[in-house]
């Protein structure tokens, strides 16, 4: 399962990011792997998605979000 599979308000844990540069930039913004990510908003036409993680809102493009492997939390 990848990040774009999440629907709004659904939560998941990030397992791995298959893109070193993406990982670095997300880490730099303070994305915290140990905390769940929640899907907040999706821009239309497969535009960027906005997630919430560790009380922060971060948005990335859908094509990058597909590189992020997740496990959904029930």
């Amino acid at each position: 399962m990848v990040l774009t599979d999440l629907k709004r308000q659904e939560k998941a844990m990030i397992l791995r990011i298959r893109d070193g540069e993406l990982t670095k930039q997300l880490m730099t913004l303070g994305l915290d792997f140990s905390m769940p990510v929640e899907m907040k908003y999706k821009a239309p036409f497969k535009g960027p998605i906005c997630i919430k993680n560790n009380k922060k809102f971060i948005f990335i493009r859908a094509r990058d979000a597909r590189e992020i492997a997740i496990a959904e939390m029930s």
Binding site: G20, K24, L26, P44, P48, F59
Partner: protein, 700 residues
Amino acid sequence: MSKNNKIRIALVGNPNSGKTSIFNQLTGLRQRTGNFPGITVDKKTGKLVGKEHVEIVDLPGLYDLYPDTMDEAVVLRELTKSDNTFDAAIYVADASHLDRSLMLYSQLADWGIPMIFVVNMMDEAEKSGYQFNTNRLKNRLGVPIIYTDARSGDGIDSLVSKIAEDKFEQPNAFFRSRYTAKETFGNGYQDWIETSFQQYLKTKNPLAEDAQNSPKNTERAESVLGIKLNEQNAEGKVLEDIENRQRLINIITSEVVQSPKETRQNRITEQLDRWLTHPVFGYLIFGLILFLIFQAIFSWASWPMDMMDWIFTHAAGGAQAVFGDTLFGRLLAEGIIPGIGGVLIFIPQIALLFLFIGLLEASGYMSRVVFLMDKLMQRFGLNGKSVVPLISGMACAIPAVMACRTIENPKERLITILVTPFMTCSARLPVYAILIAVTIPATKVMGMNLQGLVLLALYLLGVLAALIGAAILNRMIKSESKSYLIQEMPVYRIPKAKDILMNIWSKVKAFVWGAGRIIFVLAIILWFLGSYGPNLQEKTDNYRSELSQNGYMDEAAKDNAVSSYKLENSYMGIMGKTVEPVFRPLGYDWKISIGLITSFAAREVFVSTMATIYSIGEDVKEETITQKLKNETNPETGKKRFNLATALSLLIFYALAMQCISTVAIVKRETKSWTWAIIQLVGMTVLAYVAALLVYWGFS
């Protein structure tokens, strides 16, 4: 450890954990920067202050030891080299992101190197409300814990003494208690290790070279990661390992760290964003905001602009009255004062637009615009962040081009810089306003003012030209680097008045200094060119005496004829006539051609040139330039000079041509190359010429 024995200590941690500040504090000026062999990753080594025998190596910041990136490969190799290995490690963690820091730590702990755990940037963490339970952290990790704030130097002394006294301790393992190191990492890591090492082989990565040249080092690397570098394993195993580590890390942080609570700002932000980032309402609201901004600019900016216009017209008249028909008086009344006025008159519009852009940025709303617009912008080879420069371009391209710095991807940034000058800037407005007022009737079409509709169409033309231009450039410019859009969605904040005013000030300053100086100097040069010429005085006097024989003309008509003759024979007239053949196909005469040449440096100079052309040799009256242009006739046909075809052709030309030296200069500065600045200048000018030509043909 005796003082004679040298000890080597690795400084390890995540990027941005303040590791380098710690390194600087520990080693003072006694450090060397070199490269890791064969690659361009900095390797900094230094001696601990006052302890000659302790060498500290600052390794590149990284998040884990899985060699995804060059930095990670370097550190892995450095740690696993069989010769010259490390005796101990100082682990630097960012206090506000302790959980994130623990992933790399857990791998080093499982490897079994003695460590000291430094919790850095304590000031910031305490300010945002984090609290730590030191005893629990120490029990969990099994190594000494030291709190520091490298910027203020807090805690550095106790770190130095711990290092000097060799208080490094063997960390508690994360998994070794249950498995052996090799078993821990087990059979995992197949796919990505395989592909990444294949890539490393291709790029001559040091690790891959090691694997071939030095079997011993490879063995050590394998035992750290617990993998066989050439083994076929499953990626699932990697994920499993990370998950297991993360689970342990979660337990530790939940015991040790008390995080700040959810803020009220966050809740408000979520409620607002439900509407502001909505797939339908989000765009409607953005459109409405843009509409209101431009409404406000046009209605609010008009009265200070009218006031300035009035002041400068009267100042020029006053100067003429005081200094009379002297050289200085005319220079002041016809050159300097209109020159200054021509610059200052744009300030209300530019300031107002940057007031609104500043409000949108400081409140956090602009990030939502980037979020909503990115997908659309991507189609044209632009970035969501290009929206800000493009909107700024509606005030002035100079600060707008500077605003492109926020776009990280070089290609997207370049394209944004190249197309931003297509946006309708305030300097185009006076040109548009005058030409529209002269040729477009103020009638109503479907309840809308026709003049307003034409102006709106010109704004849309600017946007379209920018987008189409971007799409074409996107195909032409090749780029290897992948583009990302990774941005924090900030919480909504009430903007601080001081920040907004500072922003307006800096943008207005960029305009006044960037464009104003050029416009001002030009105004004076133009006045000279229009007032002097080869034997001009003599020729004019001859012409005047010829006219005096003519009994059919009244005095006023004679004066007009003389001033027109004088202008035609001035340097400016000569220049205009020289280039006239180039512009004749577009429907322009030599007077308009002069305007095009002078406004090559700054387009609004067209208006002041027209003003200069038509006021030279006459008393400065309050008659507006519009009426003068309306009355202007074509001496060959006897018809109005500014007919519809000529005016539309001029409008299109000004919409598309660069006509702004200040922008060329700023593009050169921002792209660090003349090449792109010149390509942009030539491209826009040729495009403008062709489009104006087609329009003139179409309408005449």
